[in-house]
């Protein structure tokens, strides 16, 4: 490469500018990433599959555009990788599960297709917890991902590979999915930016469903501005997802350039209670202080049903999962275990194909939906979900954005919590309420612990309030420099 690049700090604009100025080519940039993956991913395990052929064909197209001096699309030549629960034609989609081993979907996820249409070079598929169920990436059937900032620690989950790939310099941006925190928590654990768009903002077509009323696709990047660019490209109505919103897609990048002075920031007491590590509290409080110095009004607010969010989430999400995962039956694609009768074939296939956490959630979801329990669990949880949504809607009548810690603790050691599912679920305390309410959120790095582990701050916005939270996130990012 003519000008050496630091792949750990490279941004979308950095790639486009280098290609436009002819100091590098899309092909060289893609190859430099593949070389780095080959050299380093053995110790991180972010990728499950590489898509060299598709990537290099696209890079060649971008280079031809640049050679002619044609205008470059917004993601021209930008290496982007995709969580393995999203489909990408020509590449496997295992969802981190043995039950989909060998499956190659014959179509592209809409968000993936939109990235490529905007010039992105699709590098490959990223490791994740099986069917996106987990908070540590230890539930992948293909082995855990190691946190690039501390190799003995988890990268978070379920989009652990997506966060780690950005942190390790294996891609400039990635797509993940967030059902109960699966973008925001790993972004915090790996020290990168990760965004949960409003429910229905980005089409779910091509997302292997976990919990359809909660599942969302969103970006991981190194900068807030890059997140805005990736959201810009992926957001908007899609005829292939009837739930996708026709709400206008504003200029998200422009929003990052607006000063935050005059905004009112809500700080909910419930997110600063017992269990929050002092170093994380201090970093988030310092971030809030910086926003105040930039002209924001800080307002203490209450989100009184917060403590019910985790139990509500684990009813709603598992109930939906038990229905969605019924499709994995060994008939149309993926694994089939042999047996002489159909019902035994179903059971053996699912026993062999699903890991322990997936089975646990299917059992729990089936239980809460089963005769005699539906009203006590599922209907009850849907009612509390309404209370949680109302908490946020009431708060957003008074504030423009809400700032909270992203996680109660820094990334934990691999193996530390893997034998205690309830302890793992309880760590989702700051993420699941926003998931249930359908509002948008973003995780931004806001410091480090004394052990040099990343700390993230969460900025939450009202439905379709992405511009405001990007604006605040940009201010937080600038406060770190």
């Amino acid at each position: 490469m003519a000008v050496p690049m630091n792949l750990e700090t490279l941004t979308i604009d950095g790639v486009r500018d280098a290609i436009a100025a002819k100091t590098s080519t899309a092909t060289q940039i893609a190859q430099a990433h593949y070389d780095r993956i080959a050299a380093e991913d053995g110790k991180i395990h972010a990728y499950l599959a590489l898509s060299n052929e598709r990537a290099l064909a696209q890079a060649a197209k971008i280079d031809a555009l640049a050679a002619k001096g044609d205008p470059l699309p917004p993601l021209a030549g930008v290496p982007i990788a995709i969580k393995d629960v999203l489909t990408m034609k020509g590449s496997p989609a295992t969802a981190g599960s043995k039950i989909l081993e060998g499956y190659e979907p014959p179509y592209d996820c809409t968000a993936v297709a939109r990235l490529e249409a905007a010039g992105a070079v699709l590098m490959g598929k990223l490791n994740c917890d099986e069917f996106a169920m987990g908070s540590s990436n230890e539930n992948s059937a293909y082995g855990p991902v190691h946190n690039p900032r501390a190799l003995d620690r988890v990268p978070g989950g379920s989009s652990g590979g997506s966060a780690a790939a950005v942190a390790a310099g294996f891609a400039v941006g990635t797509l993940g999915t967030d059902t109960g925190g699966s973008i925001r928590q790993p972004a915090a654990f790996c020290g990168v930016v990760g965004m949960l768009p409003t429910y229905s903002r980005v089409s779910r077509y091509g997302l292997i469903a976990f919990a359809s009323s909660l599942d969302r696709i969103g970006p991981f990047t190194r900068t807030v501005r890059d997140t805005a660019t990736m959201l810009q490209v992926t957001a908007g109505y899609d005829p292939l997802d009837a739930t996708s919103s026709r709400h206008v897609v504003p200029d998200y990048v422009a929003a990052t350039k607006k000063p935050v002075a005059g905004l009112t920031i809500g700080v909910p007491d419930e997110y600063f209670g017992e269990g929050l590590e002092p170093e994380i509290r201090a970093a988030v409080e310092k971030t809030i202080e910086q926003l105040k110095e930039q002209g924001c009004t800080i307002k203490r607010i209450g989100l009184p049903h917060t403590r019910y969010a985790v139990p509500t989430y684990y009813v709603v999400a598992t109930a939906e999962a038990s229905a969605n995962l019924a499709r994995f039956d060994g008939v149309r694609y993926g694994l089939r275990a042999d047996d002489s009768t159909l019902s035994n074939m179903y059971r053996k296939t699912r026993d062999k194909g699903f890991g322990a956490e997936v089975k646990r959630r299917i059992l729990l979801g089936t239980y809460v939906l089963s005769a005699g329990y539906y009203d006590a669990y599922y209907r009850k949880a849907q009612q509390v979900r309404m209370l949680l949504a109302r908490d946020f809607m009431t708060a957003f009548a008074d504030v423009d954005a809400i700032v909270t810690p992203m996680t109660p603790t820094p990334p934990f050691k691999i193996g530390e919590k893997s034998d205690d599912p309830l302890a793992m679920y309880l760590a989702d305390i700051y993420t699941v309420a926003a998931s249930l309410a359908g509002i948008c959120g973003i995780s931004v790095p806001c410091g480090q612990t004394t052990d040099k582990l990343p700390i993230g701050v969460q900025i939450l916005g009202k439905h379709f309030g992405e511009e405001t939270i990007l604006q605040v996130a940009q201010a937080v990012e600038e406060g770190q420099q």
Binding site: A242, D351, I362
Partner: protein, 109 residues
């Protein structure tokens, strides 16, 4: 749902596993029983809330005004359109004759 009434038995675990078409090993059953009881014990805290007058929220589109209109428009015109190629789809199947998915015998005689 009260906190003391929650106790999933091994038989419950087996019944739910059967409903979900899951085959659990003898080792897995007591483990799943323990985990379900722990998690359901935590879920029982929801019974502290009086929700008698609260409507259930199944999907957030219900609380987003503009979404209601969108869902009414969700029906597409009834036109014949190209779909995925049969050969490509069937190539993913564990067992097929090229036209149908093949499965083991369903009816015993």
């Amino acid at each position: 749902m009260s906190e003391n009434s929650i106790s999933v038995t091994l038989d419950d675990v087996r019944r739910v596993a059967e409903l979900a078409n899951l085959d659990l090993t003898a080792d897995e059953e007591p483990r799943m029983q323990r985990d379900l009881n722990n998690i359901l014990g935590h879920i029982a805290t929801l019974s502290e809330l009086n929700t008698a007058d609260v409507p259930p929220l199944a999907q957030v589109a219900e609380i987003l005004g503009d979404q209601v209109k969108a869902s009414a428009e969700a029906l597409r015109p009834d036109e014949v359109r190209a779909s995925l190629d049969r050969a490509v789809v069937m190539a993913e199947a564990p067992e097929t004759d090229g036209v149908f998915f093949k499965v083991p015998k369903v009816i015993e005689r």
